[in-house]
Every structure is written in structure tokens, then in C-alpha cells.
Symmetry: none
Subunit: 199 residues, 4 copies
DNA sequence: GATGAATGAGCTTTCATTCAT
DNA sequence: GATGAATGAAAGCTCATTCAT
């Protein structure tokens, strides 16, 4: 499944052959169909594994009683950024799959994941509104799109960001840490500007 | 080329067969190779056509002498949103191609487009900074990623945004207008918060 | 037709596309079908033109009353060698076509050419036999095969003959003259050994 | 590989489709690419198999200590004739490939084969020259061309030889035996005339 | 369970040819 | 007559999948 992630991220689902995956994974070609049933089901399994972890992480934060709404939101932002930076392959796949509803099963899984995340986030925001910390009339969809879209775009096109800012000589790790900080404060600043109650 | 755009947007480059494109376009299968040489060159032609238009549009704004920096920036945002909403297919393709550097020619075209846009925008921001309207220390890359990422994400996943906000009954046109306004004020608010000089 | 000869000789009939011929000849692609009707008919026309010339040449020698049988035969050998060395492209095509009876029309043309040549040569040999210069029991087929096969083989694989005899530095013309002499005396020696009456 | 030989001999490399070969061989079309990788590699494999056998046969004769030089040469001639008559398809392919250096790999294999044969034969002739049986100043290239060219031409155009000598009613086997004898004594006579030392 | 061999479907591309002008 | 555009057919090849062991 890790071999599949790498290839799917790099060349897309259709652009990747099961042979490539088998070779990278060092297993027999027929094994993949034997275990997963088909190429499609392999990807579905991939999504199932990752999404379980994501939802779990989100729920943990919300259940936390020691953090205030804004603090929780910031933690959520940081966790999202970390997830993307740690599993860039999977997220590139997910971003792509989101825009081509080719595989119904996966589209549904992504939707389900988004629904869960959306509901949990909505609860968090409601909590902040009741506490008077967040303003009313927040467009959740735009908010999430800003987080997901901005971070995803930077991660997807990091070579351009590097070129633009003369960061070509940074190692992969250095750059990841650099961009982690930049993204974190950027998104948090946006969220504060949009959410915080000025009264 | 329009037929190709629709299919590439829907199923990806590898997921689309030249047969599909030919059928949609109502032309003979061999015609496509006759005109464009190959499937790859067809996509390259697609990009060449669109990118010429985009750069032209951007330059027109910047040359304008009657608008102030912030006004120009807002116009730029609106134009970007309009372009995406008017040519969603092409932009979905571009977003995808940006993350999989499979075709070197196209990767280079996109980079060139981004460089141009980046330089022009940088000039615009410098103009605002000199006029004292924009603050110093602006991260251009994050700013553009926020615009491109957010708008792109909303457009790519509009079905989810509809579901989330109970907009399922809107026609395609109604939704486009609705989201156009929402996105415009959302992004402008973000830009103002990030750029405006508080002193 | 000359462009066709070059290509057919180089890459075979099936390996040559009408486009290649059209380009080399500097004419429109459709012209070739317009004039010749089809790719096959183009080759047929090629054969028709060349074979007319060949038969004519042969008849001229035989009609000559001043030469004796052996002298005629030697002239015939020299003419054959010259023809091959002057029109190597066409002869390479002919040798190839002789072994793959793909095009019935051409097979027939070649057969006809061979029959004519065979009959004329047979007459020449009979002339010599009557004059007591040539022995009886001559296998015409083997005799012609020796001429045609040997010369054809040398011409077809001249690069190997060059390598074998360290003639790599000769120009095309120098080599042609060199091999012309060698072949001429070689074949004549063979013919003499086989034909001459020892009594 | 046998199916391929038949078709390549009949219609040439370019004139043969992998589909035809697959059908004749009674295997799936994809199998051929599965095993050989490509149409070209199939032919290369064909050549590799045959050439190994040919060189082996030649070396066996030369190592023989009981035969004199002329006897060895005659054996060599007979073996060559037998090989051509037994594997006419392969040899027709080889003759054709020799004149169109389209596939570099195969051209090189043929050259290698010819070099080996040439060297072995040269040694044989030197042996005869030392023993005083063969005359000096023998043109090896012409000698081999006479053997290879004559035999190849007869085999390639046997239908014409049949017609010329009224042998149309012979079975394939009968004709093969007939021509075997004829060719054998014809070539041997030539070789003797050219090589034998008259002093 | 694990795997080399095999296969049908489908891919992109090229071809000889014809059509409309 | 001459030609750019167009096309049906067929080419070589790759793919995901299944079969036999």
C-alpha cells in the first residue's frame, strides 16, 4: 500500500500500472489482485486506512476540555498541516481524487471524511460562538477551503515556492520545517481575522 | 480542444482515451493525431492557448493608471475567480498537472505562467508598499497560494460545498453567481487583513 | 519514381510510407495516388520502366553479328554487372521481390523478364554449342543463378566485402570500379570453366 | 518462432503483423510481446538461435583431422546447401536482412556470423595453400559470394528454376533432392576450377 | 498462500487512401 | 491538375486480470 501511494501520487491512478507497484513493493504481480481483489480496491483500502486515523485525531482534540475554542482551532490547523507534510503522497492523491469523481467508492469515502470533519469543526465553532469568542455568520465551507486549499496548494507546488523564495538549497527536511512554521502562522492569522469577535 | 478539456478534467490525462475525445468532439479518431501529432501535444496546445489569454489579462490590469494598488489587487482577485468559474475544466486540469510533473513541456509552461503572474503581482505589491498602503514583509507565495488554493478547492469540490450549505437545488448558473460573490468577499477580506498597513 | 526506388531499396516496400516518398520527391502526398493509383501500382510502374530497358539491352547484344558466342556472353556478363552497379537501388528491390511473392503483378513481371532473358541466353548458348565452342549439357538455370546470385550478393553486402578486404577508405566510386573489375573476371572465369569445350 | 520464420520469409518483417504470427502459432497475441518483448526482439531471438547452430557446425568440420583441405571445403559446401534447403525460411529472411540494415542488432549479428565463417574458411584455405593443393591469390570474398549468392538465389527463386526445367510436377521433397545434387556438383566444380593448383 | 504464464480488451499511433475544393 | 483535410482500418504494444499449479 505504501508503494501504491508513492506511485499514485506521482503518476496518478490511471498512470500507474499494477506492475510498477508490484515491483516497488517487491512482491509478485498477482499477489496484489490476490490480496486486494483489484487495482481499485487497493486504492479503497488505502483510503480506508488513512481516513480512520484522521477522524480519530480530530475527535481527540474536540474532546479535550482544557483548551479554549481558539486554542483548539489552532491545534486543528497545526495537525492538518502536519498530516499533509508527513503524508504528502496520500494527500496529493486525495486532492486529485476529490476533483475527479471517477471512483464512486472513494468519492463517497472522501465525502464521508469531509462530512465528519465538517461536523466536528462546526461543533467547535459553535462552541466558540457561544463563548462569544467567534463572531456569528461564519461560512464554514470557505473557512475549510482556505485551510485545505492553501496548504494543499503549497505542498503540491513546493518546487515553485522554493524557486520563488530562493530556497532551492534547503534539504527536504529543512524546507518542511520552514514551510510548517510559515503556513501555521499564515493560516492562524487568517482564521483569527475572520473569526475573532471584534466587539 | 474543448472536448479534450472536458474529458481531461473529468478523468485525467491518462484516464482519458483519444477515442473518447474524438467521439465527444464528433470528429474522426485519426484527426486528432493528424492535427496535434499526439495526445500529449494536444494537451500542450490546450495549455498554450489558455496561458496566452491569462497573461494578457493580468498585464492589462497592471498597466491601468486610474486604479490604486488595493483596487488593482481586488480586480485581480475577481478576475481570477471569474476565470476559474468560467473555465473550470481547464483549471482543474492545470491544478492536477501542477502536482504531477509527468509532462515536462507542460510543467514548464505552467511554471512560466506562474513566474509571469508572480512577477507582475510582485510589482503590484511593491507599488502598494511604496504608497504606504500595504505593509512590508509580505509573503507573496503564501498570498498567491491562498488565492489559488482556496478558489481552486471550492471549484473542485463544489458538490460538497453545495451539500454542506443546502444549495443542492440551485442551478449551475445560480450557484456560480452565489459562490462568485462569496469567494470574492472572502478572499478580499483575507487580503485586506494580511496586507493593509495598520499604522 | 526515383524517390520511391531509394526508399523501397532502403526500407522495403512495406517499410516505406507513401509520405516518405512524397516528401523525398517534393510532391504532394495525394499526387502519388492521383498519378499511380496506389502504392502497389507505383512499384509496378517502376518495374515496367526498368524491365523495358533491360530486355532491349539484351536483344541488342544477341543481334550483333560481329561477336562470337563467348564474346557475346562476356559482354552480357559485363552489362549485367554494370546495370547492377549503376542501379543498385532497383536491383535490391528486385532481388527482394523475387523471394516474396506478395504482389502478383510484380512477380509476374519479374518472371516475364527472367523468361525473356532466359530464352535469349538459351539461344546464345545454343549458338555456341553449334559452333562447337560450348560444351553440351549446360544447366542454364544454374549458370544464370551464379551470375545473378553472386553479383547480387556482392552488391547487397558490399560493406562486408569492404571490411573483409580492408577497402573501407575507398570512395563509393573507387570501390565500384574496383569491384566491377573483380566481378567481371571472376564470373567470366567461372563461365569459361563451365562452358568451354575441352575437346 | 517458427511461425514467425514462415511469415517473415513470406512477407518480410514489416509486411508481417504480430497478429498473423500469433494466429499461425496458435497463441495469444499478447503472448508474443510477453515472451519476446517486441516484434524486433522476436526476430533477434530467431537469429540468435540459428546462428549459434551454424557456427558450431562449421567449427566441427574444421577441427576434423582426417579430411584434406579440398575434402573439407566440399563438406562445407554440402553443409551450406543442406542448411539452406532445410531451413529455407530462415535463410530467406537473412538474405533480406543483409541488404536492409534496418535493425542494427540483427545487422551486427549477421556480420558477426559472417566474420566467424569468413575467418574459419580463410584458415581452411590457408591450410590448402600450404599443402600446395590450392593456388595463391584467392579472393575469399568472391568465393563466398559465389557460394552464398548462387545457392541463395536458386532457393529463393526455385519456382522459376522449376518452370525453366519442366520440374513442376516434382514434389517438394523430390525437387529438394534434385536441386541438392545439382547445386552440390555445380558449386564444387566452380570451386575446383578457381582454387586448384594447376602446376 | 503464492506465482509464472497466459489472455482479452483496449490503448495510441500510423497507414494508404479518398474527398472536397 | 493539384492539394489540404479527412478517414477507416490496422498496426504494435500495454494493461488489469485470471488461470493452473
Amino acid at each position: 500500500m505504501e508503494a501504491a501511494e508513492i506511485h499514485f501520487a506521482d503518476r496518478g491512478f490511471e498512470g500507474t500500472s499494477v506492475r510498477d507497484i508490484a515491483e516497488t513493493a517487491g512482491v509478485n504481480l498477482a499477489m496484489i489482485n490476490y490480496y486486494f481483489g483489484s487495482k481499485e480496491k487497493l486504492m479503497e483500502a488505502m483510503f480506508a486506512r488513512r481516513s480512520a486515523y484522521m477522524t480519530l485525531q480530530l475527535e481527540t482534540i474536540l474532546a479535550n476540555r482544557e483548551m479554549g475554542p481558539m486554542e483548539k482551532l489552532e491545534t486543528l490547523v497545526d495537525q492538518y498541516i502536519n498530516r499533509l507534510l508527513n503524508q504528502p503522497c496520500f494527500h496529493r492523491i486525495m486532492i486529485r481524487e476529490q476533483m475527479m469523481n471517477s471512483n464512486h467508492m472513494i468519492t463517497e469515502q472522501i465525502l464521508q471524511m469531509k462530512r465528519t470533519n465538517s461536523n466536528l469543526t462546526r461543533a467547535l465553532i459553535a462552541e466558540g460562538q457561544e463563548a462569544g469568542v467567534f463572531r456569528q455568520n461564519v461560512d464554514m465551507g470557505l473557512l475549510m477551503a482556505t485551510l485545505v486549499g492553501t496548504v494543499g496548494h503549497i505542498v503540491s507546488t513546493q518546487h515553485f515556492y522554493r524557486e520563488m523564495n530562493d530556497l532551492g538549497e534547503m534539504t527536504e527536511d529543512e524546507f518542511r520545517n520552514h514551510i510548517r512554521g510559515k503556513l501555521s502562522s499564515h493560516i492562524k492569522a487568517i482564521f483569527k481575522a475572520i473569526l475573532s469577535n471584534e466587539d
